[in-house]
Homo-oligomer: 267 residues x 2
Amino acid sequence: MSITIGVFDSGVGGLTVVRELKRLLPAQPLIYFGDTARTPYGTKSQETIIQYAREDTRFLLERGAGILVIACHSAASTATSTLRQEFSEPIFEVITPSIEQALALTKRKIIGLIGTRATVTSGVYEKAIHARMPDTKVYSQACPLLVSLVEEGWLKARESRMIVKKYLRPLKNRQIDTLVLGCTHYPLLKQTIQEKIGKNVKIVDPSAEIARAVYSYLESKNQLSEKLHGRGDRFFVSDLTPTTQEVVQRFLGTRVQFEKTSLSCRD
Amino acid sequence: MSITIGVFDSGVGGLTVVRELKRLLPAQPLIYFGDTARTPYGTKSQETIIQYAREDTRFLLERGAGILVIACHSAASTATSTLRQEFSEPIFEVITPSIEQALALTKRKIIGLIGTRATVTSGVYEKAIHARMPDTKVYSQACPLLVSLVEEGWLKARESRMIVKKYLRPLKNRQIDTLVLGCTHYPLLKQTIQEKIGKNVKIVDPSAEIARAVYSYLESKNQLSEKLHGRGDRFFVSDLTPTTQEVVQRFLGTRVQFEKTSLSCRD
């Protein structure tokens, strides 16, 4: 019996994580839930994000997920400890693996982080980095506009390049040598980010890191699926607009058959 | 007995409408609901926006609103006809008064509209304008990034000016002579918008228009309040973050005492 991976995100950005998971674990069954009816999470309060993450988790577990991946950085930084207390299934999140990677890469021990306001405010990255390597300096920058720029598809636009530069300037001034992309949307701007922060700064893309962590876990438990079974992966969203597929194409490089579901109150 | 005005919006942008209402109707009791836990509406599907608008309406009516103002353009353009079928209270929305004003102002009968994707996709402005003046040309442009720019507080930033210019270029090429600001956030960028669209183009700010419409209605029913009664206006939101007050200051020019409420499901 294969373990099903349940992945949730505030929207469809978490499909960057799915892409990496499928690259490493093509036969492992997967269920995705994107809370597109309440997206984004990154501008909302901790209390609200925790409540949403709890509902998302319950949805995936009810549909057979055996391990959980929090693809949303805002939810990962805010809700992980609560979810681990409330649910017994193993819960992976995008933050820890990218921190490990950043610590492995940094030479000068000066790490930068960019993310949503919720992620940056949580201070989770700083705490986790200092717990492992107390003399490391961590500088964070909230970049609220980048999600909108990616969803608008302005990946190479001059305006986007200027905005990226403006957000990264304080981190550049701090001479960071490693930069963590603390939001599922940012890898799509990676080229511009690399250019503006400088080519010597190493960029950590959490999607790749978390896929490796999940792979190791399943391997250690001898539960890697080697053959595809059943009906295949399922992709749920709480809202579906005419532009959803267009955005998905950007994240996943392919289209997906979505099933629409609702977590909100019935009358 | 004074009629209480109930105003809802997807977030706090609708406070621009409140500001105008209080200017004309300082003593009229008012309840506001901002659905900050699910904001924004403008990127979501029609079905979801209608459901949210229904819940917002019910919330305000249960708390004593006697007339309703839909301050959110995405909800106004998508949900008004459904709400009017389902509720018997008079429902005002931001669109009709601004269309009347645009038709009064346009000389060449070429009107431009900017708004969220939901507002533009709805086609409501075009339909309403053509119903009144069939030979008028209407050109619409979705400007999804402007809401984020306003919430980030980049009102005069160079990046914002470039983005406004980029969005307005197609409308400028069409030689519109009147531009409707179809989103509560846009009046904060009015100066930049005026500069980029050209000083001869007349700009219609719906907040001022809807306040006039509500005033006329109450006056015609002889229900204008002349003295302040009771506990005063109440402001509800479904989520409250550390930056909410900062954003509110931008819209209203003053702070507000918010009461947090929840429309979402209980466990």
